[in-house]
Amino acid sequence: MRKRLFYVPYFLWIVLFVVIPLILIFMQSLTFDNGKSIFSNYQAFFSSGVYLKMTFNSFLFAFLITFFSLIISYPAAYFIANSKYDTFLILLIILPTWINLLLKAYAFIGIFSHDGSINYFLGLLGIAPQQLLFTNFSFIFVATYIEIPFMILPIYNSIKALDKTYIQASEDLGANKIQTFTKVVFPLTMNGVKTGIQTVFIPALSLFMLTRLIGGNRVITLGTAIEEHFLTTMNWSMGSTVGVILVFIMIAIILFTSKTKKNKVGVKNHE
């Protein structure tokens, strides 16, 4: 009986902080006004060029950030997994994730700013100071920098989990290194890549702190739109609408990148 009592706070937490907030944000996004459609916020969202353009830009930024971190991370994860010192190297890679995100963003303000280090070196070369901070480039660069460890980790885990006999089999059957990689290693580590994409893409869509500090007010993502609606323009109902749309996009990404249980090697062998 006493045991049950111990379960109560957790149950209350689920109701109060998981279920109810989701219901509330959804309710807030609806319109309860006579004469107006209950979904009028959504109609406004999908018929407004501003919102659609912002959603598109947000996707484009998230896509680029995910893409760049993937092409940098895959080789890194591969090299680390094949190294003798892999545990130590992976520890080195994940250590920076324990440093507060804000401080890393702040470091880049110093590096990119008008009187920062890069402009100082450019000055030595006789080049006039460039506007580096508050550009699309700086936002993508810093976001990629921050996301790389989160991309390396799942890929590394999936390469480590790879059964080495597959590689030997492929080599025995006469495949060269490139064929072994494209037909065996890469397909078998797809789950790690998918997890990596998932862990990077969702925050990239919704980050607002980094956008503000590094991208200035030029880069607007779904995350900054929500923050602005809630805390600046106080239009909670439209902010919630963007929030609900973000939740649905997130669910779609999770479903799209969820792990496939079937072993794909069997299929590939028939080629």
Binding site: P21, L22, I80
Partner: protein, 267 residues
Amino acid sequence: MNKLFSRIYLTILIILLYLPIFYLILFAFNKGNNMGVFQGFTLSHFQELFADKRLISIVINTFLIAILSSLFATIIGLGGALLIDSLKSKKAVNTYLSLNNILMVSPDVIIGSSFLILFTVLGFSLGFMSVLLSHIAFSIPIVVLMIIPRLKEMNRTMIDAAQDLGATNFQVFSKVTLPYLMPSILSGFFMAFTYSLDDFAVTFFVTGNGFETLSVEVYSRARQGVSLEINALSALIFIFSLIMIVIYYLLSVRSKKMIKNGKGRVV
């Protein structure tokens, strides 16, 4: 050849990963007042920092929130792990786990804005309590996830043995289950603690005007541009993070959880 390439690649990557952090710390000792060129060594920014009473009270607030929230989250999360463990049907377990993980996969803006609506609907004033409750709320799921695997590995005959020897339910819990779970409870507490210290976005939404944590303060100062006092603060936070990492590493040497999970994001 291939080995050489992989070595160069990894070396450059790791240097690039650490460069901004060390750059930040180096300039904490800069005589000048921006992060452009290093003009000589000084400790004046640290002196400024220690004389800044407002900032020190913010640091104290931040730690108070972190300790209280991780304490409550650990107790509630332990209850949750035991609850999920006691369920017989697989479907119920999966339902609870999905509900548990919602706050882990939700973007911070969603958590922050929905909590803001929640507190407003409940008529709760924004400040210390709303921040504390939010931090407890978003730390609970990670505690549950840290404890469940250990519960699964537990040898149930130990409980049977204790009961056969006449232990009451409470004695079984306090003398057998709790000591066995202790390493995972400590890891959970630790993760909750770092979650709380690191959080910016959720706090930013639910903090209102009067109350600030370190992250919110650094954000509002960084928006105004570079001030080397922040660098000095970063240097201290960096050293503190290193200490935390060592503690966590010692806690998890056996389970190697850190390698598997990295910092926090479990998707």
